[in-house]
Every structure is written in C-alpha cells, then in structure tokens.
C-alpha cells in the first residue's frame, strides 16, 4: 500500500496539450475515482501513472518515490484494463500466475498465492479453464486476480466495467468495493459513469478538457458542486439551471420570478444561474420558489419525475410516487434554501 501524488502533471501530443497541470494527493488505502466525459484526460492520467504514457512535465510519486523515469514494472502498480487483457492461450491459473513471472518468489509460495487470490475471487474451480470458457464477469475477475496476485502498492482500473451488462456491472461494482474493504490497497479507478463514481469512491476527481473540475467525496460533489459542469455531470437527472440575475441575496429569474437565496454572501449584482437538483425540488412543499404547469410525468416507482413548464423555463422535480400531480396541473415547487446553488453565468463557478 502507498500514497500517490501527482504534481502539476502535463501531457502534450505534439503541440497539443491534453492535460493542463493535474495535481492530486491520494492517501494510503484510498479509493479514488476519476470521472468525466470521453476525451477529458482521465485515462491518459491513469496511463501516465502506470508508466504507459510518457509525462511531458510534472512529477508522479508513488509511496513518496518519484517514478517518472521508472518502467511500469518498477512502479509497484497493477492495472486492470477495459478489455480485461487476459491471454486467450493461457488457462485462468496461468493468467493469474503471469503477474508473478518476474517475481523471485519460490514456486510453492507462488502456488499458495495463486490459490489465495483464487479463493478471494471465488475462482478456485475455474483455474484450469481457458478464458473463452468464462463469462464476462468471470473474465473480469481473472483480470483483477492477475492484478491482485502481485499485491501492488496501487491498483489502477481503466473503465473495467464498461464491457459488462447493467446487472453484471452492478454486481462487479459491489465486488470491487468489497475487495477494497478487504485488501485495503490504494485504488485509482477511471470511469465515465457517474453512478459508478458515486457508489464506489472515497473521493471523486471530476475532469473535463484536461483540467480537474472538482475533487471531493461523493456527497461533496453532489451537494456542493464547484461549477455548472459538475452540477450537470453528477446526478441523474442533472441539476436544473435557470438563468437570471442576482441582487444582494435575491435571484431574479426570467418571467419576473424572485427567489431568496439566504446562503449567498455579498455577490453584488451580476448574471447568474440558479441551480436546484430535481431531488431537492418537490411540489407543494414548504419554501415555494417557482410555480408552473406539469407537462410530463415519468413514474419511477417510489417517486415520479415531473417536468414543469415555468415562466423561467422547463424544470424537473420529484413528486411522491403514489400521488403525483397530473399532467396539466398547476404546481408550486419548493426547495430548502441550503439546496439552492448560485453559479456565475460567465465563469460557471459556484457562488454559494
């Protein structure tokens, strides 16, 4: 186990800079998830940590040791790839043992270690099988087993669940989380799926266009998004953002709607976006902020999403699943003041 530190990491391909100075400290045993849309630089960052991509500038430290100029094998890391990268011509056992090839461990110890890992991953009966005789989830476990067998300081996962179907993905998510609790290694996990990020991470790193947008616990990035990108990216459905102006602690929205934002401190007068998550916005609750006509309902069982046409634009709110308003009903939507977010229109940065 070890800490990981990225210091002003940059990456360029020719004259194009794709990572613009990534800095991050990961604690020993922490589960950190990099999340962001395609092309945001999360996989590049991971590959640079692994030593599969050269670093243009900046420093990578693993366990307090600078590893920039070390080969991947010397970095004490293991990686699980999106396509598993398990060798089709080798049995499960040989695939797992492959990680120990360059180890100087005595043969009986290697055998013991393989059995131990197979036991943890519930694969003892599969050891003699070839990868083409395994299901997607089993293949993924073999890939994790090959990484685990070396007991590396840092585990790197590059979108390992994206090739699995939804049910298996949920199951593997749980297994990886349990595995982390059991072995306690530092894990860096890359995904484009915000649900994966929210459910697995100790801390989430949200990236866009080669920049870190926010680093925080799942609760922090959900409840205190640093900017409009994070507000939109995290949470499904994403946060409602209504254009308007701020004056003191009152937001004036389109259609002459006024919303008091007591949490706002001295923002002056400027163009803003008022954000409120559908999960925090309910019809006929206390502290009404905006009214409108229900134009669509999406029943989800325990709750129903309602699409409401307001003078300030269309917004989504959550209603009770048993007695939701009907399409055509006029509703007053309310939210607690602490759940209202104000973002600067120009920079997108949060003001609350």
């Amino acid at each position: 186990m070890a800490t990981l530190s990225l210091n002003n990491l940059k990456k360029s391909y020719g004259s194009t800079e794709v990572l613009h100075g990534i800095s991050l400290d990961v604690a020993d045993g922490e589960f950190v998830v990099f999340v962001g849309p395609s092309g945001c630089g999360k996989s590049t960052t991971l590959r640079m940590i692994a030593g599969l991509e050269e670093t243009t500038s900046g420093i990578i430290e693993i366990g307090g040791r600078e590893v920039n100029n070390l080969e991947p094998k010397e970095r004490d890391i293991a990686m699980v790839f999106q396509n598993y990268a398990i060798y089709p011509h080798m049995s499960v056992k040989k695939n797992i043992a492959f990680g120990l090839r360059s180890s100087k461990m005595p043969k009986p110890d290697k055998e013991k270690r393989i059995q131990e890992v197979a036991g943890i991953l519930d694969m003892v009966d599969l050891l003699e099988r070839k990868p083409n005789q395994l299901s997607g989830g089993q293949r993924q476990r073999v890939a994790i087993g090959r990484a685990m067998v070396r007991d590396p300081a840092v585990f790197l996962f590059d979108e390992p669940l994206s090739n699995l179907d939804a049910q298996l993905r949920t199951q593997m998510r749980l297994e990886i989380k349990k595995l982390h609790q059991r072995v306690g290694n530092t894990i860096i996990f890359v995904t484009h799926d915000q649900v994966e990020a929210m459910t697995m991470a100790d801390r989430i790193v949200i990236m866009k266009d080669g920049h870190i947008q926010q680093v925080g616990t799942p609760a922090e990035v959900f409840h205190k998004p640093a900017n409009t990108f994070v507000a939109r990216f995290i949470g499904a459905p994403s946060m409602n953002l209504l254009a308007g102006q701020i004056e003191g602690a009152t937001a004036r929205l389109k259609g002459d709607v006024q919303v008091a934002v007591p949490t706002l401190e001295n923002a002056g007068r400027r163009d803003i976006l008022l954000g409120v998550r559908p999960d925090d916005l309910h019809p006929n609750s206390g502290n009404p902020i905006i009214g409108g006509k229900v134009i669509l309902r999406e029943p989800l069982g325990s709750e129903t999403l309602i699409y409401v046409d307001t003078p300030s634009g269309e917004i989504i709110a959550k209603a009770d699943g048993r007695t939701p308003p009907n399409v055509g009903d006029i509703v007053e939507l309310g939210a607690l003041p602490e759940n209202l977010h104000i973002f600067d229109t120009e920079s997108g940065e949060a003001l609350t």
């Binding site: 692994a50 094998k73 396509n83 990268a85 060798y87 090839r101 360059s102 180890s103 090959r146």
Partner: protein
C-alpha cells in the same frame, strides 16, 4: 379476387415464382461449376501427366496417353537408387527448413516492431520493405551473385539461403496479423514485468500461430521449388537442390523426361503432406493479409 394464402391458387403462384427466380440462379450456378471444373482440370492435368510420365518407359514419353501402355516403376527404382537424388533431397530439406525457421523469427520480429512500436521513420521503413516486393528476383540475382562471389559464399548452403532469410511478404503478413493482437495485452505484460523480447515471444507469438503456420508453408514451398537462384549460385552437383538437380537429368542429346517427372513426383510428396495438414492456415493467412489493415 385475391386468393387467400394457403389455397391451391396461392401455392401454385408461389411455386411458379420460385421456379422463375430459380432458373437464372441455376444457370449461373452451372456456369460457375463449369468454370471451376475447367480450372480444376487445368490444375490437375500437369500433375496427372507428371505421375503418368513417371510410370512410362523412355520410348513412350512423347505419347500423350494419360494411362501408359506398359506402366513401370523402373524410373522410381533408378531415381531412388541414384546417390545424387538423395543429396539433392537432403540439400532441399536443409535449405527449406533453415530458411523457414529464419523467416518465422525475423519476419515476425520486424512485423511486430513495425506494428506495435511508435518510432520516427516507422512508416518509411515499412514502405521501403514493401517496395522490395515490386523488384523481380531476376533483377536481383546479379547483385546477389556479386555479393556471394566477393564474400566467398558461392556453392554453399549459406550462399543459397541468404537472400531468402527474411522476406518482405512475410514481414507484411506478420505485421497484419499482429494488428489483431490488442495493445492491452502488450501493456499488461509490460506492467507484469516482461521485457519487450519476452512479450513478443510469450504473449504476441502464441496469438499469431495461424499466421506463423501459413508463413511457414509459403516459405517452405517457395524454397523447396526455388530454381533460378540455386542454379546460379551452385556449381558442384552435390550442392544442387531438387529442382536444379532434376533439370540436369539426361544427357546433351536427350532430356530424360521420365526421370525428371519421377524426381518431381517424389519431391512433391513432402510438400503435399505439409499443404494438406496446414491448408486451412494458408487460407486464413491469405485472407488476413489481403483484408486487414
């Protein structure tokens, strides 16, 4: 009135339509089979004549009959008892085998490097290698000969083998096959601590076995039947390969076709066996080299 489906009228209409649409397809099929049949005959006839001639007496050789009037195995006895043929056979085996092994190693190493490594000039090197495919052997034999002469390689195994130890075609074939090996495999092996040569040997090579089998057959057959260069570079009869040796059967006044055909028939056996075993790999190899990339 429209007949309901399933009524005799509907069924007969359907039958008529099917017959109409089948007729041209059948004609097309007949033409295709005819062409294939002609092609097959054209390919089999020389082999049939080779075997037929090898079973004829000298006076019957110029008789075009496929079945000899008086079949004999005398030619086989003569050729097999002739010490020269034995040496030519051994020479051919040694040359074809060593060249095949070298091709498998060198072509796959170069193919792998060109496919999986990014370095300046990679594309130029690949194009340069490919462009050598456009130069016919006939143009190369003179520089090869001058080279062999200056290095003292004339009339030696090395002299016969060196031009074919690595081929542009083999490099291209292997490069195309290595494209199908995911980069993740190589990177995973790198992280697991293997060096580049170990990755090539342990991870990449087992995954391109069909290509190696196909290349082995191509190279083996090519060298087994090579004629021009072995003829030029060898002087002593003991260094001849089978094709060169066979061409010398007979004397100045007459060519002993029955003996040449007997030798050719015997020399076909190993290649035929190799081909029958590995033909599915050949087809896959050709398809991959032709369609991928």
């Amino acid at each position: 009135m429209v007949a309901a489906p399933g009524t005799p009228r509907a069924s007969s209409d359907a039958l008529l339509n099917t017959q109409r649409s089948r007729r041209p397809r059948n004609m097309g099929q007949i033409i295709r089979w005819l062409l294939l049949f002609i092609g097959g005959i054209l390919m089999i006839m020389p082999i049939a004549y080779m075997i037929s001639t090898s079973l004829k007496w000298p006076h019957e050789v110029y008789n075009v009959k496929l079945i000899p009037d008086e079949p004999t195995i005398e030619n086989y006895t003569y050729v097999l008892e002739d010490g020269r043929f034995y040496w030519w056979f051994v020479n051919s085996i040694i040359i074809a085998t060593i060249t095949t092994i070298c091709n498998l190693l060198f072509d796959s190493l170069v193919g792998y490097t060109l496919c999986k490594f990014r370095f300046p000039g990679r594309q130029i090197v690949f194009i340069a290698i490919l462009s050598t495919l456009m130069i016919p052997t006939e143009m190369l034999v003179i520089p090869w000969y001058l080279m062999s002469q200056s290095f003292g390689w004339l009339d030696s195994y090395w002299g016969i083998m060196f031009p074919g130890l690595m081929t542009a075609f083999g490099t291209f074939l292997m490069k195309q096959f290595f494209e199908s090996v995911p980069d993740d495999f190589i990177e995973a092996a790198r992280i697991d601590g293997l060096n580049e040569l170990q990755i090539w040997w342990t991870v990449a090579m087992p995954l391109v076995k069909p290509a190696l089998a196909a290349l082995a057959i191509f190279v083996f057959l090519g060298n087994w039947t090579a004629f021009l260069w072995p003829l030029i570079v060898t002087n002593s009869v003991d260094m001849y390969t089978i094709p060169v040796g066979l061409s010398g059967f007979g004397d100045e006044a007459d060519v002993a076709w029955e003996l040449i055909m007997t030798g050719a028939a015997i020399s076909t056996i190993p290649t035929l066996v190799v081909f029958l075993i590995f033909q599915r790999f050949i087809i896959r190899g050709v398809v991959m080299a032709g369609l991928k990339g």
